[in-house]
Every structure is written in C-alpha cells, then in structure tokens.
C-alpha cells in the first residue's frame, strides 16, 4: 500500500480528506505511483503532470523521507520506506508569492 499526501487544493479536487492510499503493481516509481493516483482520481490528470508530456508541473515538488525527488527520473525506484508504506510520498505546492 502506497501512501500519498496531496496539497489541500488537490485533495478538494479529488474529493478526499487526509492521505490517499494506492495499490501499485510492479516497481514503485514516481511514474507508477502517479499513474495509479490519476487512475483512481481522474480529476487530478493534468494538475500534477502536464497532459501528454507527463512533465511535472513547475511549481510542484515531490518529497519523501526528507529527500527532494523532484528531479529524479520518473522511472527511478522510490525509497523502500515509500514502497512498503512506512513513509508517504509528499506532493507539495511550492511556496510562492513574495
């Protein structure tokens, strides 16, 4: 079971409260987790990754286990603690505004 913590606006959009949990078949990577997230909550398509290119939207970051994974390959394995559900994958909106 993979745990994902969404920013508040995306929790509202997906209609969830608190963390979401996902079943991910096969290797646990950013891509496989985000694919599973969007499959379970289709309203999130295009809000974390751009349609088509699947590039991370510029003002979002992926954190886990106190590491910034935003610039990792989408196909890189996520930390074991995320894969076994001990730690959540955090999807974080960048602090911006001045």
């Amino acid at each position: 079971m993979i745990r994902v913590e969404l920013p508040a606006h995306l929790r509202t959009l997906a209609g969830v409260k608190g963390e979401v949990t996902l079943d991910v078949a096969g290797q646990v990577t950013l891509k496989s987790v985000l694919d599973a997230l969007e499959a379970k909550y289709p309203t999130l398509e295009g809000t974390i990754r751009e349609h088509g290119t699947l590039k991370r939207r510029a003002f979002l970051r992926f954190f886990a286990c106190e590491e910034d994974l935003s610039h990792e390959s989408p196909d890189a394995l996520l930390p074991e603690a995320v894969a076994n559900g001990k730690e959540p994958l955090l999807i974080v909106g960048a602090v911006a505004g001045g």
Binding site: L13, T47, H51, R57, L60
Partner: protein, 371 residues
Amino acid sequence: MSQVRLLVGTRKGAFVLTSDGKREKWDVSGPHFAGWEIYHVKGSPVDPNRVYASQSSGWFGQVIQRSNDGGKTWEAAGNKFAYDGVPGTHQWYDGTPHPWEFKRVWHLEPSLTNADEVYAGVEDAALFRSGDGGQNWEELSGLRGHGSGPHWAPGAGGMCLHTVILDPSDPKRIFIAISSAGAFRTDDGGKTWKPINKGLKSEHIPDPDAEVGHCVHHIAMHPSRPETLFMQKHWDVMRSDNAGDSWQEVSGNLPTDFGFAIDVHAHEPETVFVVPIKSDSEHYPLDGQLRVYRSKSGGNEWEALTKGLPQKDCYVNVLRDAMSVDSLDACGVYFGTTGGQVYGSSDAGDSWTPIVRDLPAVLSVEVQTLA
C-alpha cells in the same frame, strides 16, 4: 417572478449573486473553488442550470468545472486541451518564433442550442469545442492554421483568445478575438476562418492597417442584429455593420477611447456601454472617477453615467469580460472591478449601486435572467 443570477469570476474563486426581478437585495454564495483563478463562468442559454467555469492556477494548471444546478454544486469535467497536430510557433515578444503552449481557458461560450456543447477560448490563442459537456475537447484548428498564425504575438496579458460570439441567426458563423492578433470569423462552423480587421488602425504596430496584429480587447453583439458588432480595441471604439468585413470608429466624444469592457443593451441594439480607462500604463479611470459611458446612437455620441459610482479616489480597472446585461424589461447592467466591487444598475445605467464591495479582483461577470 423573474430572477437574476450573476456569475462572477475572480482572482481567488467564483461567486454567485442572486436577486429577484427588483434587483435590490442580493444573496451572495461563494467562494467556489477558493484560492483558484476563475477567469470565466457562464451558463447555458438552453439550460440555465448548466453552468461552466474555467478554474486555473499557476500550481495546478487548468480545470473545467460544470454545474447542473445553477452553481450550487460542481463537478470537474475534462481539462485536456491538446492542440491539433504539431502546434508550430507564433511570434514571441522579441520577435523570435515561440512554440504554441497551452496556459489557460479565458472564455467559455456555451452553445445557443445544446447545453452539452461549449466553446473554449484559450491562451496560447486557439478555439476548442466540446460536445459532451466539457468532458472532451477538440481544437477547431482551422483558426490557427489559416495562415497568419506564425505572425501572431502576445499582448501584455498573454496571447489569449478571449472573445467568442455565436451568431444566433447562423449556426455556422462564429466571431472570435485574440490579443493581439485581432478579430476573426468563420462561416462554416470553424473549418476556415478569415481575419476581419479592415478599418482598424493601431499606431503601435509597424503597419497600422495590417490584416492581423491588432489588440482587440472585446466585441459585443445584440442578438437581433448579428451583422452589427461593437468593438473595444486597445485604443478606439469601433463598429461594424457587415459582420466585421469593415469597421468604423465610433469613439466620438469619449474622454479616452481606451478600455476593455463593452456591451449592448438587451432591448435597444443601438445602445452601447463602455468604461473608458486611462492608458497606456495606468489602467484606471480618468481623474479617479469611475464612469460608464452610454451611447444611444450606436456610438459617436456618449454620455457619462455617474450616479452611484465613486467620483473621486477610484483607481480600479474593469476587465474585458467583466460587464454584462440582463434581459428584464428595464435592462440591468452589471460590471465588476479589479478592486472587488460588483456594481449593478436596474435602469439601464442611469443609476448604480454596489452589490458587493470586497470580493477579490473581478475577472468576469455574466448574467442569467431566469423566468
């Protein structure tokens, strides 16, 4: 008894303001989609309970929302706006080619005949259509592909397709406007388009009479006279009586002919409203006096409407989609400001009252007149 519903898009959410036909007391609901930019909210003329909203954010991109109960509850529709084929390039601010990139939906125009059909004007400029209530979107790519697309350039607000007008007398005719490419028309349902900018003069482009490159801010049409269009250009208020084939300036005695919003009285096709704005850089009313100007002669002769509007220390702007009219017997006129006020007039502009004063900056105001 009649009801009026105002759909207000702001920098930080949407608001729905409702009143009975007297238009004296208003209920305010919202913010819907709090914290998101709501560029436009508009209801279907076929089914007034069907309302579409463009919700966007620098963080999370574009979302399209749809309501089936007049804006009480909402559901997310489709947000995939993919340009048809290889998008190609347009001109960037420095004159270099720049790839077409989708940024947001500026304007949603529901069909006049089908509540599930809706058009979206987007940045970077293109027109999309959905036939399934906003779930799936398809570009009407003949517009970008008509030939001049590589020469279009963004205005200060981006290269946005902000105006979509459907001709009630001809379902195959659509008018659109782009900042800063100009106005275009299709007569075959969006397959082919032609620029309709003859007569526009823009001194800030190398060829003031160019076929494209004009910064059209907004266009309005009275449904009983679809051949007659009124345009607020970056500078100049213009009029066409041949569906845009040619334009004449009707700025007349306006204190400044710069502005964004323009609309036509619901029952008097020659009565037009604009809000003159000081420019090029200030973008607030002249002399701190918020004045709507009304022409009852289709332009040229304008009168200032000031009763109930602030006549000192007012430095707000009124954006292109932030004015609308209702269709009650005494035509109601409404506009929102970047200061968060929404003003209403239940006597065709003779007098005004603030409906709300302290919303986030208002981006758009649309009216629904309900039986």
